[in-house]
Chain length 366, copies 4
């Protein structure tokens, strides 16, 4: 089948192009009786909205979401929840110059090869605009998980690297996220990052990024071996975000250099605070909260790489649909670092994977 | 649903535990009329078989595959192909000591949390033994793709790092793979790697690895946006292999440090040798053969990290099913570097993803 | 998963309640390059529209469809096609009297048992209004099939029985359909049917119906054994239409009384008119165009029973959500014979099943 | 995808041909901890086994099932349950005469058109032998439902018509089933049926049948609107059984002649025996236990038509794979009335649909 839907028991499908009248989604399988209002979704959409700082695209999209179905008197009914966001600022004339030429690193070449269609108005379906609907679906997923997992449940993301500049992981402080447009958890590098991205933007270049998502308060045992392991589904959900080229769980590539006796998280029983029982405690979290494709109960840690925006001002060599050599430069309003807006999208996708596996778990083991 | 099946139009499901009588698979959706014999599958199984060198588990499993259905007079009939491999060397007594204790880094803890079942005989369903069936399904996938993509189609894997030791990518020579038990493409490091792994093995430790898979001769346009992008499905298929903790496409994490004007693969028209036509040529392959979730026609490059084997001789702190602190050491016959046998498994999974997307592509665009 | 989507390679999902702002659908997997305009869909919607005669609900819904995505310059692009129809005439006050009481034969009781939600405004998601989106999806399916199967392809439906009154099958003339509001293929019974339904309507009662769909010009070999046989998928698609209680293929129940030697369609080679080749000709069509779950190339014949509308004026015994005995009578504007509007819906579902199986067939055997 | 799998959360896939070495199934998604032994499955298989009376095929197949995986110490583990039955009595030479000719009413023509393969050894994948695996999967489904629905849960089938001979529904007595080879619930017609079928068998003819399945003790609310309604999934599951041509729920086609005020099941509150609470009671069951695609809590009643066996002794006109006119007569050992063995198969499919919807219901509403 064509791939515009996500998930099994928590399932959504999205539609819409960046230059059409609107984008939308259907979210299906949501348990009935969950309080849901447009504001619950809007607050997450506002995190990824264009035009919020000079470091993201200046396209002006208010991204106001409307719930069209599936909610009655403030609660989900169990029927499909349709969501729509009107496209306000299409301004397709910006794309006139690239009507025929393929942008290096962009999907327009491969879409043309697959479908034989050249929608010259812009990114079309391949545009990162589609990710607004992922964020919206993620907001619904969070409502399910917050109800069922309780107040300890949380999905949070941060940017840990921009271009060549990393954070210092020891300086990680979630509270730092609020004061900067980069979702940067290390307050000491924000100034440097700002200067760097100012320079990238001025030069009409773009920068890549690394994003890290943490999910806390997830019970042990989520995931469906063998071909829907929790980490496999997370990898798919994250790699499918526009411009992502790599995904790690826990230590990721770094674990390969650690000897076996140090690489695995040892366990001890500990007394649970304020309770009369003891629980398993892991002494480290190399595994990123997943073993054998199932959650361990520790924080789930997912890290991913976002490539530099492919639509840039600098002219590059390419070909056009007539099969001629040419050059292309993109004059539109684009993100100098698309990784910034990938943070709320990554969070949303993690929430969606967890919601799907939670419902699947209830089906088999509930 | 429970997750024991893979794919949509090319679909397989596997069954079996490491200590049961057999393991098996059903491969469904295979086009009719494709020549297929047990030998076509066996040759790939022999690549991942236990006991082939001192660097892999000494469990003695001939891994002889039988085709039980779906083939008539040497050709596929279009009906499901059932494959079975008998388990010969179960020897479950090796596991007696770990009957109650959870191995750090192993799935036995999470399976117990999910299912409430403790199959103390060994890895059970979580055992890497299941990957034999992935290799078998991959062999069927290759037959489809070889017929339809022609002789240029190839899926090959190599190990590029073991523990802390990398290859020199400039020394890459596919011909080197035949002369060593590591699938190492850089002949100059094989001696060093042997010494390293000998030492790891002697000490009862284990080592991680990085594996890289290249698929050549794949036409442009495979993949199904938005939620079944080719790279998303590859990420899922690879991350779902036992012990894998990270997946990259093309430059992966490294692309984040490259400025936008250099990170994207430029294009030129070139004259195709021996033909009267011109074709698009990419001047680099940072993208690893995938843009917008669709194949570009270039080599598809997938890289993944395999953690050190969790079953090791060194004693480690853990808990048991009675909720007591204890230590555990695994005396069974295990791979000191499970990454070695992950090479043919990674190849197989890439082939399966491509076969599925090829059939899906035919459905919509064929 | 929740069940708001249909199909595999040709897939659609619908959303919306009868008393919400709109209803909609996403149609996914449509091949690119197929000419598609709103008028192509509107013409079929007009067939099932409310208010077209006194024999259907007087609710005034223009049912104007808008294509929101997936079409560019008059052709499908291969991306999801979103369709929306605004609800114009909700008038939910009509339902005040039945706010708490369950209508016998209606889904409101079972929805309440499943979801614990009482959407007292009317049928909500269970309303036959949802079938407008089936007709819209069916219109897209027809476009695919018309392109690929050619001008001989046709899906047509007729009503063959209303209440206790049958047509005479020997008088069947497709041309009769145009002159009556019943899709009745036997012109000799139209007068009788009109009188009967006038009387039913006056008395505040309702009547059941039998509908028959014929699909011509379908090539042999469509269907996917064993669990997605063409007749199994047709049975599901048809039984899932509101108020349907029975489905037959070909002779259906009647075949049970025919001796084996007469029940099966014999074959002969015949010369194809105007061509230099010979083809298989069946000498009868007891099988309704399907053998072993695969199309034979003959006309596919599907027949189904539609129960009388459950919302009627006559008071009936029931209970309410407070668990008290009560009576209920429905004063809203309802179809005296919902079977009439089921004709275009049945046609659409048959077209959707065929489109899905055609794409699935191309994937495996194309 | 190819269609050899059934269900979503309770999912199984089958494999095997009538003349291969074995047939088998994978049953996935089964909750862990359910007691399951081979005997639990064997008892149901024995009900549909060949050779049990002169009225079913004389093929001698002991049909001994082996559980290959997914069960440990007598309980399900949550991993896939593989089942295998060896084919003992292939005797493919019986089919020599029909090597090239297509049997009227049989799938061999359509398989040849779809796959281009002629497996002349017999029914191959289209053989009713595959239904043994449905019965086996159904046995697993029953174990789930018996645990979760309690002792009132029951799925029972009976044959209500053979050829032209019906039972008297007023004489229905489930106890009658044990004393006859027809699963006939009306003891007064058994003698007549025996004579009729003796005559059919002697003449080398065959007879159709009507089968009725009742599921009791099913809670209200199962089913997944809109495209996986309980009745839609039942229709698919039943229509997909070999030789089935029609499916009804409750009154089925007969409901079309009943006026609206009588056709729908009224409700009253009644005091539950021995309990201090009151429950909804339906005053009739025209609906067959399903409204709006969801179970009502009443008995689910499914009725289906089985056509006469297509493999008969009487010679009939047909064509062969060379495109020549010929005649064909089948000398093999076939069922004179395949409807008899369809009873346990129908029961099994109903159980599988219920198990799938029960797990799906738990996922969303549990």
């Amino acid at each position: 089948m064509s791939g515009n839907w996500f998930g099994h028991n928590f399932r959504f499908a999205t539609w819409g192009e960046s230059h059409g009248p609107a984008i939308g989604a259907i979210v299906d399988g949501v348990p009935p009786g969950i309080p849901l209002a447009e504001a619950d979704i809007q607050s997450w959409l506002d995190k990824r909205r264009p035009g919020t700082s000079k470091y993201v695209t200046q396209r002006q999209e208010p991204d106001v979401v409307r719930i069209m179905s599936g909610v009655f008197e403030g609660k989900t009914t169990g029927t499909p929840i349709a969501l729509i966001i009107d496209n306000v600022d299409q301004r397709s004339k910006d794309y006139g110059d690239i009507k025929d030429a393929f942008r290096p690193g962009h999907a327009d070449y491969t879409y043309w090869k697959k479908y034989g269609i050249r929608d010259y108005r812009g990114g079309g379906r391949a545009s990162a605009r589609e990710t607004a609907m992922r964020v919206a679906a993620g907001a619904v997923a969070r409502k399910i998980l917050e109800r069922d997992f309780g107040p300890k449940f949380q999905v949070r993301g941060a940017m840990t690297k921009i271009g060549p500049l990393r954070i210092n992981p020891e300086k990680w402080d979630w509270a730092s996220l609020d004061g900067n447009p980069f979702w940067c958890p290390d307050a000491t590098v924000i100034g440097l990052w700002s200067k760097f991205l100012d320079s990238v933007r001025r030069e009409g270049s773009s920068a890549g990024a690394v994003v890290e998502i943490h999910a806390s308060g997830v019970p042990a045992g989520l995931g469906a071996p063998i071909y829907s392991k929790l980490d496999a589904d997370l990898a798919s959900a994250i790699m499918g975000i526009n411009a992502v080229k790599a995904v790690e769980i826990g230590d990721g590539f770094n674990i390969t250099a650690i000897p076996g006796e140090d690489a695995h998280d040892e366990m001890r029983m500990k007394t649970v605070e304020g309770q009369n029982e003891r629980a398993v405690e892991f002494l480290s979290n190399h595994a990123g909260g997943i073993l054998g494709g199932l959650s361990t109960g520790q924080d789930i840690v997912v890290r991913f790489a976002v490539k530099p925006t492919s639509s840039i001002l600098a002219p590059r060599r390419t070909v056009n649909i007539q099969g001629e050599d040419t050059t292309v430069a993109t004059k539109g309003r684009h993100d100098p670092c698309v990784g910034i807006r990938a943070v709320p999208v990554g969070e949303a996708m993690v929430a969606c994977v967890l919601a799907d596996h939670w419902l699947r778990h209830k089906a088999q083991c509930g």
